[in-house]
Symmetry: C2
Subunit: 339 residues, 2 copies
Amino acid sequence: MPELRKDPIIGRWVIISTERGKRPTHYGQTERRIKPKACPFCPGNEAATPREIIAYRSDGSISNQPGWSLRVVSNKYPALIIEGELSREPKGIYDKMNGIGAHEVIIETPEHNLDLVDLPVNRIKDVLWVYRERYMDLQRDPRFKYILMFKNHGEAAGASIEHSHSQLIATPIIPKRVAEELIGSKKYYEYKERCIYCDIIRQEITDQERIILETDSFIAFQPYASRFPFETWLLPKAHVPNYIDTDIDMHEELATVLKGVLMRLKVGLADPPFNYILHTSPVGNEYRDYYHWHIEIIPKLTKVAGFEWGTGFYINPTKPEDAAKFLRELEIPDESVSV
Amino acid sequence: MPELRKDPIIGRWVIISTERGKRPTHYGQTERRIKPKACPFCPGNEAATPREIIAYRSDGSISNQPGWSLRVVSNKYPALIIEGELSREPKGIYDKMNGIGAHEVIIETPEHNLDLVDLPVNRIKDVLWVYRERYMDLQRDPRFKYILMFKNHGEAAGASIEHSHSQLIATPIIPKRVAEELIGSKKYYEYKERCIYCDIIRQEITDQERIILETDSFIAFQPYASRFPFETWLLPKAHVPNYIDTDIDMHEELATVLKGVLMRLKVGLADPPFNYILHTSPVGNEYRDYYHWHIEIIPKLTKVAGFEWGTGFYINPTKPEDAAKFLRELEIPDESVSV
């Protein structure tokens, strides 16, 4: 059973994972990456993953058999596990919790050699829609306070399997970074009675210089205080606290903007490793006035990790205005690459 | 002039660096690392760095000439610059500050092929002592709120020059992570009227299972809620808020413990890249009751960076108890390797 432990000084919860456990002797050795003979996410190898939770399939095809265009399964090596009662307890002066949660994998396409960005808009839309479907299902479980969707692209960004996929983790706690956003945006709301994200969008539209893409309902820009070169945020322009409040008729536009941003990163930066993380309101309604869902996209282009981890103090060698201009003005050979 | 920008939501300051600026077009290209013909930190190449601020030298040797055992210079590509008045101003709804600060390099040894850990204890003591000397000097500058000492070892940990060195950054703000520690430890003090770090040390001595090394005055252990495999903290056992309050007669013991920990990491984990960061109280006296200086050592062994950056949510695949046991029981061939 994994364990959740709380840092007593700053209150950050950490998952001490056992299912994906590494013994101390593991690290001194040169990494021998054993390439699996067959990709567990390719059609025909459905038995290599846990059974599917949901799949988008052609009519008449059978569960856990080929015929799907998108497939959601439990993570075979989950950071948190679904069975059990939540129990919090002290350990001396420390606090712990058993590692209850859900950890799922969204296999975005059956084609091994395509990345999310290569899919046509309607299939990117499916991926974004299944995030919502899984959220709707998991939020009914009273043990879960937060449902986190994210994607690691490239080994340097933490992807251990090449075949394009996203992940979902449902947790009994709110991740620290999101908690900080909630506190900050609540303070701002108490003072101004406006959503800080809505104000930021207004400012970005006024300034123009950090915008990468803008459509009727969505905007993508590099934040004013970007931590990393080419850090990009994607938000709905209207005030929408939770991702699940973005309707199906908005998802095509959302998929177009996400594809546009990812395509610019791929073409302009030679397919860099990246992570994106969907920041949405925690489960529940108390954050509605002041939180605003968004996607944060972080290309991994610099190597200054440890210092930043240790201090929370970031040095960004590239101005977000310059980075945004570069991406905005890129010529994308074919905006709507299809399969 | 570099710029300090504040994230309006969570209040984190970021340095937008210009001296070490990278144009957007830089990233798409394959990195061509131009190896300098000569190491700028080696004796004989003193002219390749800015002039020395302080050096420990043999009698009769001349400034900016060979004959030194340790040398402190300004960073040639500083993240912050020393000249100018501090000015804070709004930029629309955002906040910025000009990038005033100090950025220095501590060249720890003239020998190109030795790492800090390879030096004899008395020379590691010199490095630790010069941190204090530089702190004492810079804290007199009223523009600086915080003085940060850290070391990047290995390219993957952000070291751009191989020759063993540490860095110092003096800033007009308190780094976010330290600010969080101040808030957390103050809250604890208000409730318990005890220092939380002192209580943690008591708990670790009771539990024993996360300790790596312990001497009369210092303790090194893996924190209960370790974010990373082999994350290690080193603290004075007595309540000492600021690093500069640790006297010269303690520095030999401190150097011995630091060497012991680094040697265990080097031998047990095949010389991993790592960062260490000296967490000390900000300049001033108001933190004396509840803050407690310490060194955080973070080996870079896992590759899950972006997700953790984005969420503040860490998954650690190795239990700190197992990691500590491994390091504690390691046989170190020669605890006092000398040059």
